[in-house]
Each structure stands twice: as C-alpha cells, then as structure tokens.
Subunit: 309 residues, 4 copies
C-alpha cells in the first residue's frame, strides 16, 4: 500500500455498454480505480461527472477519472467496450460494425502496447470473436490474457429462455450456448440440465420446441436492440462477471471467447478463468452433432477473419 494500486480497471469506449459497465463496477465496489477513455474525451468526462455525482450515495468509494492510455500502464484489467452499434440496422448482423470497429481496435492496441499495459484484456466489442482475434494479433500480450465475453452472454440468454418455459430461476439452469457470438452459435442441448435432469427430456415431455428456444437465444440481443437501439444491461453484467473472476483468481469454469488450439481460433467454449486469464480449456463431452456445429462455427469465425484481413 502506498507502494502500488489495488484493482485498477480501464474502460475503453463509453457508449451504452461501457457506461453501464462503469456503473455496475461503481455500484458493486468491484474496482478501486477506474479509468474511462473514449476517443471523444468529452464523452468519457460526462460519464465521469455523472458517476462522481453519485459517489456520495454509493456504499463503496471508487477513484474514477477520464484518463489517457498512459494511465493504463499499470491497469490490471482493460475492458474494450468500444463499438458502433448505431451502424447496425434493426434485424442486422454484428458484422456490420466490423468495418468501423477494426481500425479502432488496431489503434487501441497500439496505444496499449505503447503505454506498456501488461494485464488482462476483456473485450465486448463486436463481432466479438473476430475482435479478440485482432487484439491477440496486435497486443504484446499472451493469448491467454485476452478474452471476449463471447457466448457468456448468450449462455445467460439461453438460461433465461429455458427458465421462462419452466417458470424457474435462470440461475438454476446449467448448460452452454457455444461457438460464435453471432449467428453460427448454438445451444449445446446435451449440456443443458435442471436439477440434474437433461432439459431435452423435460422439453420432450412438455412439448417445448428446442429450436424455438435456440432461435430466441440467438435473437435475444435483437429483441432488445430493435427497440432500445442497443443492449447494455446483460452484456455489462457478463463483462463485470468475467472481470470479477479474474480479480478474485476464481478458477471458475466460465464460457467466454478465448483461443482454443483445437479449433485454431478464438471461439466460446468453457474455460477456467483466474488471474492468468484463460488458465485452461475445458473439454465438453459434446454429441457428434454438436461437435460438427462447433467446428462449423469456428470455420465461420475464421472465414470472417480472413475476409477482413
């Protein structure tokens, strides 16, 4: 103490997602120092002012400021929340954003390298798997220290959809949405259980359509986006959730977009998350059909990466 700083977090990109991540962190006391950076510095400042105005009312103190990349030299975690969701038209594809986000990701990476950032980067920027791949190419960091929220969010959406069908608490559903954080993702039904029971059996008995749930999960973001023009609550909760697993060195099996050597690609499969980022990959016992889908999703991601490189 006095010697060094505690939990220091940088947020790059103060759109709706970045701003909500900042709010969640401050309300929960999940960081001790929070550096907000936006290419429009007045945007970061406005967010800082609103957060400052709340500090007298918060249970925990957080040091918050609009910073520069130099402030991230000793950051523990940087969250890439930049994006151009405004470019996506209702019903659109996350890849519409790529053209705008790609050069910014390159620029952010160069600045992070320049300042000597040596922590963990967690990206929500879309298309998520392509973006984390870019970060891994540009950043002077081990691949394991770069992760994307990926289908951590889609898995939460899948749990919600399953829970809705059964009038249950979404936290009580086990299982995963795998693959791309995009259209080629899929619900790995063999992994979905409630109280130990395979959901496929429950669904069959009750006449619940798995395809409908899977599609609702995949379209979950758009159901919100088409009205609000963005999504922020759930993606922010996912980002902060992963961040907390890293800070507490939890060794929690969480799904996120990470480099999976089996697929030669960033893609969302379960991994053990701790202070070294992605500390190990967990092999799910998938069905043959699911393995095919997962490979196809990896191919889809790789195609997009090639297309844009």
């Amino acid at each position: 103490m006095g010697k060094f700083d505690m939990r220091k977090v940088g947020i790059i990109g103060l759109g709706h997602v970045g701003a909500t991540v900042a709010l969640d962190i401050v309300q929960g006391g999940f960081a001790d120092e929070l550096v907000l950076i936006d290419k429009k510095s007045e945007v970061a400042k406005a967010e800082v002012y609103d957060l400052w105005d709340s500090l007298a009312l918060q249970p925990y103190h957080v040091k918050i400021y609009a910073g520069t990349y130099a402030d991230l030299k000793d950051a523990d975690i940087v969250l890439s929340t930049l994006g151009h969701i405004d470019l996506i038209k209702p019903g659109g594809d996350r890849f519409t954003e790529l053209r705008a986000n790609a050069p910014e990701v390159k620029s952010v990476s160069e600045k992070l390298n320049e300042c000597g950032f040596n922590g963990i980067l967690i990206a929500t920027t879309n298309p998520n798997d392509v973006i984390v791949d870019m970060y891994s190419k540009y950043l002077n960091l081990p691949k394991a220290h770069i992760l994307g929220t990926g289908t951590y969010l889609d898995t939460a959406r899948l749990k919600r959809q399953v829970a809705d069908c059964l009038n249950l608490d979404p936290r009580t559903i086990e299982g995963y949405a795998l693959g791309e954080h995009g259209n080629s993702q899929f619900a790995a039904w063999s992994t979905v259980r409630i109280g130990g029971q395979p959901f496929v059996e429950i669904a069959e008995k009750k006449g619940i359509s798995l395809d409908d749930i899977e599609e609702a999960t995949r379209q979950g973001g758009f159901a919100v986006f088409n009205t609000k023009g963005y999504t922020n609550v759930a993606i922010a909760a996912a980002t902060v959730g992963l961040m907390n697993l890293v800070f507490s060195d939890a060794k929690n099996v969480a799904i996120c977009s990470h480099y999976d050597a089996d697929f030669g690609s960033y893609i969302s499969t379960p991994a053990i998350i701790g202070k070294d980022g992605v500390e190990a990959v967990v092999k799910l016992p998938l069905s043959a059909d699911e393995m095919v889908k997962l490979q196809a999703s990896a191919n889809e991601i790789q195609d997009k990466i090639k297309q844009f490189s």
Copy 2:
C-alpha cells in the same frame, strides 16, 4: 408468505433514468418484484428482456415484468421516472419539460387511483417540485406518501464538488443543497462541514470560491446532459437510495422534495424518511440569509405551479 408479496416496486417511464433505476435495483437485489410500465409498451418490454438476459448472472433473483397499472394495486413503492429530457436544449431549463410531462402525470395519477395503489410514490420527474405537487393534487394518497428526489441529488453533487476541492471522499462531507430542484436552489453553507469543521472556514483559508462550487452544483446536471443528452447514474442512485430508506423504515434524515407546511409548498428540506414516507420535517438552524433564500426558492416553485395550473 404465499399470502402476500414482498417488496413490490413499479417504475413508470423507462427512459434512461427509469432503465438505470431498474438496473440498480436488480443488481442490488433491492426489490422482489419489479413492474415496468411505459406508455410505449415495447419500450418497457425491451428493458425487461435486457434485464431478464442478465438474471442468470445476478447475485439475487428479482421477478421482473412489463406490467399494467392493475399490477400496481398492491405495489409498495411506485417510482415516477417519466420525462421528456429530449425536449430540453443544451443549457436549458427543467421547465421546458413541464408542458410535456404535466398531462402524463395527470394520466398516471388517474390510473394509479383507479387501480387502488396505496403505497409510497417517489418521483424523479422534472421539474421535480412542481411534479410532486401535481401528484399530491391528483393522487388519493396522503401528502406524506408522495416525495420527490428533489435536492437529494443536488446535495450529492454539492458534496462531490466540495470533496473535489479538498481531495476527499464525497461521503465524508456533511451538508445540504436546499430549495428547488432547479435554478433557485442554493448551497446552505452553514450546514456544510467536514470532520466537524465548517467548510466556510476551510474555504476561506484555502481561497476556495463558495460561489463557484454552488454554481458547479447547480449546473452539475447540465455538465453531464450537454454531452450525454441525459443524466442517469446519480439520479438513479438517489432514487434507489430514498426507496431503500422507505423499505427499511430507516427513519433516516434525508433531504428530498416533500410538503413543508412552513412554506405551503413541496420543496427540498431535510425530513425523516421511513415506511410512512415523510414522517417528520427537520428544522435546519439556517442563517437569516439562508432562510431568505429558502423562502425565495419556495416562492419560485409556487410561481411555477400557478403559471402551469
């Protein structure tokens, strides 16, 4: 249990403030049942979907749904977060909104009366003092059960400004911004202390301008609004803070806009907040000068009320 519901909250108006209030409540587990209502039902639904998508990731469960006024019959607290901040031009006045908000407040009140709502109403809608006055005229509720966030927010802003000058935790500053949640508000310097020391003495020693701080407090919202187009973080924290004082029957001396018989007006002065809403008014030992300012602020509020009735 089984017999009745626990902490049931309605949020009316799902703009940025209402949405952020909902997020704060869900992240903190501050309600057990949360009913979202917006005149555009798809807006409430989009917010509900985003919150639902986060439920698998939240520490507490909250039952959330897009409801109707009938669902508020047995609500304990209703939060009026409706507004038309989009109508305000940068640098503008909160009264610009009144023309749009007034008929909605009337309509909301009629629906709340009709459904038999019999709890506590906390309004953030602006111009706050005029709006709570309207609610008190329209709603079949005791005046003590209707309160506005008023200068609870401005007081937090004042504490932040004072804290900034001294590099201190805003929570460690005592004191109040009094009067209208609007231009006639003022910092009651005689009440502002740090560690028991009057801030006026500290300011004098250090050459800090009280007027600058007061103006920064008054303009705090606009510093955020002029860039973001709205404010949400601090006002949401204020709203949820007051709500929690009611739910826990805290008997906390908090400042908010409530009916103060001395001024014959809704206006922000400290009051004791508990499950009966505003349970008592606290008489601040103000200076003669401050008393004049407070009366002037009350007059200003009354003028605006007359002008619009």
Copy 3:
C-alpha cells in the same frame, strides 16, 4: 406501506448459528425487520446490542429487536436456529442433541401456533430431518411451508471438497449430497459435473478417491466442530441462502430437507423453492445404486423419528 411490514424475519435460538445468521442478514440487508428470540432473553438482547452497535457502519438499515412470539404473528419467515451443540462430544453424532432439542421444538411450535404465525419456517436445528418432521407435526402450517437446511450445507461441502481436488472455484461444481443431514447421507456422484463433464470420469483419470471426498464431506462439520466447538459460517450462509430464495420467490432448484411423498419422510432432495416454500419436488435421474442409498437414508431418518416419538 405504512399498512404492512416488509421482509420480517424471526430467529429463534441465538447460539453461534443464530447469531451468525443475524449478522449475515444485517450485513447483506436481507431483511427489513429482524426479531431475535432466545429462551434466555438476555442472550437475544446481547446479540441485539452488538448488532445495534454496528448499524452506523452498515450499508443498509435493519430494524432489529429482542422480541417475543407475539412479534412473529406477521413474520414472513422464521428461522429455527436453536440447538445444544455443546452437548455433542468431539467426533459425536447429531442425535446426541435430539434429547435436548425435541422438547424445545415442541414448545417453540406451540408458541408459534398460539401467536398465529403463518409464514415459512426454515430450520437448521439438528438432527435436521427429524426436527423438521417434528415441526411439521406440531405447527399449524402446510408441510410445504416447513423446510430444513438439510444437505444444502453438505452439498456446499461436497462442492468444496471436489473443488479442492481440482483447484477450482466451488461455485463451478454441480451436483448434490443427498439424503439425511447425518451419517447416512451420500454424494450422488452421477449428478456431480464440472463444465458438463462427469466428475467420476475426471476422478478416475486423476486417481482421485471418491470415497475420500464423500467421507470428508460427511465429516466436514466435525473438522470444524472438533476445534471450534461449533460450526457457524457455512450453515449460516446456507440458511440465509434458502431464506433469500423464498423472499424473492426465486423458483430455484435447491436442495433442502422437505417432505418427499415418495419416501414418506422429510429428506434432502432437490426442490423448487419460492414464496410458497417447497413448491415442487425435482426427480433426479439417479443410478439404481443411488436410489437404494437414498431409500436407506430415508429409512434411517424414519427409524430415528420412531425411536424418539
């Protein structure tokens, strides 16, 4: 509001468990009104004073007092934390306590009936399954409104033991310890998974002894008790966890001791917990071997019940 009280909780028995439950509730803001009752009223008062002394430092306000049974008339949840753990000798059996606890449970039940308590009762008192059975016979409440912490605690212990072997976050382990909260309990290995992988396969590969883990789980309490003379942290967390599921009407699949018609006995199997207590029983797809063990455990509980009735 004003009309009725929010989350009102009674704690009966202010030994180490009851006191820790009270502390957890106050620190987390999980109740609005907390009534402490002990047969020695000075014990309840001492605990109340210590909690009161902390209130200026807590993030949330809770109304706390040493009460009488009349105060529980409108309680939502009553927690039976009474016990005589001091009677158990190191390495001993939970049934040693029964002789002392049984008459108190009868007396508590009579007083709860007399005051008209009509909420949910959650018992930690041991031997847990026998005690909840007693409460169900004595109390004028539906069986579904009476539950015991049962193997909710042992399941947490099982997760810890499995997590320890693999250096993982205990929260990331799925599965259940089933049956009696006592010696006839067992780890239902067919339900234990990490990231979707059956733990039995992992254990086999790594040469981990399932029997050792099961025994460590069963003896978990004694590992603490033999030194401390009691256990409180984990059992309090389990109690408060179940309580929060009821308050928030979570419909979470949680394991606890509840009446399971299949076994004609209170016993711990997964159930859906909501504001109506045990709202449904979840049938685990157990192996034939596990079904035998579960029936044996139910028989063990019934034997003990007969022995003491």
Copy 4:
C-alpha cells in the same frame, strides 16, 4: 495480473473478532486473498474449513488459507485481531488483557518485520491505543501505516445511543466519541448533530441526559460482553470499514487510533484515511472543556504505556 496479487489481507488472531472479520470480508467480497494466522494453527484451520464450506454459497470468490508469516510478505493489509478477552471479568477493564497481549504483539511484530511486511496494519487488539503504540515501536513501518480501530467503534455506539433516544437511523447521526478506546473516552457533544441541529439543543428540549448516553456508549461493549463473553459484530464491522477505506484510497474522514503529534500519543481523533493509512489529521473545533478531556485521555494512554514499558 499474473504478475501480482490483488487485495491480500492477513488476519492475525482467530478468536471471535478475527473469525467475524474473516466472515464479513468473505461475505462482502472485500479481499481477493485472505491469510488466517493463529498461534494455534488448528484454530486458523478450523476457521478456514468453515469458510471454505461456505464458498459454494457466496456471491464472490475469495482465496482463503491458513498461512504463515511468510505469506504476509506481500500482504496489503494485516489485521491484528488477537486478544485474550477470556481474561477479562464481567465489568472489567480492557487493561486486564494487556499483560497477555503485550508479548504476543512483540512476537507478531518481529515476525512481520522478518517476513518483510510493508503494508498497512490495523489493530483491534486491546487496550487499543497502547497496542498500536507498541506496534509502532516494534514494526519497521511508518507511524502513518499503523492504526487502531480505537473509537471508530465507540463512535458507532454513540450514534446508536443517540439514535435510540430519537428513534432514528444511527447512520443519520453525525459526531464523535474521542480519546482512548477505554474509560477516559468521551462524547464530543459539540460535534454531535442530526440534520444539522446540535444534539445538545435537542436533548435539552426533550430532557435527554447526555451523561446517560455517554455512559451507555462507554459501557456499550460490556453490555454485550457480560452476556456473550465477547463482542464481535460491531468491532468486526469497524475493522472491515477502515480496511475498505484504505483499499479504496477513499480519503474519508474517519475516526481511529493514530499517532497524533499534538498529543505525542496514539489516540482517536478524526483523520483522513487512504492507501497511505493515516494521510492527515483533522483538527476538530472542540470546546475548551472537550480539549481538556482529550488531553486528559491522551495522558491516561501515556500513563498506561509507561506503566507497561
């Protein structure tokens, strides 16, 4: 990350206070790594096991283990919670403990020096002011990095007593109990305010005896101790409260026992607490009478120090 550890806390002495501090930290997620040390290693282990058993049920992950002093080399904060409260007889004096605690404090200091601990030490060990003085003499740390909970606890007790008289939330009371964490402490009535009103005026109007409140504050610990045989809830909340101010570098004006050059003694007066420990001393505008009492209290502490050196 990967490079260094986050919030690392050592707790020395796992009696009721140390154990409750550990519980509060784990429930609140206030540290990432928690090292428990007791001269009886089995006591630390029993506490660790009970905490581990709760981890599957906690909202945050914390790495907890029974450690040695070598583990504290890179600890950020060490909490001295050792004590021999069992030696105090009902109604007794905190100095009864000194004879037993003093040699342990010396031994702990030597081990902390040896391991190279270079963080902040917060002591609850009693008699608090004498103990922190000892630590400051033995430890190779700046005086500002050593603090005692002192009258942070008594101030919370004072607020509770005042709040009780007025049926208010203790958090809403401002003011301080000053001086020794012992019999020579006193309520600095000139600092006690509610909603800006001096409490002395309110007390006069309502016929409340200031002396009774002051005595109840001073005897607050014994009201609990005489029945429980120890106090833990409020003192643990005070300890964790101060710890969080340091971790978040809050610059909060808090009262604690720190070295005050004006009195040439450790003594409780308000100070600014941040990551450098006691970053500045705050001069209260006390009455002449209160200044005399404060000096007398400092003299009392110095007398005791001389007596035992």
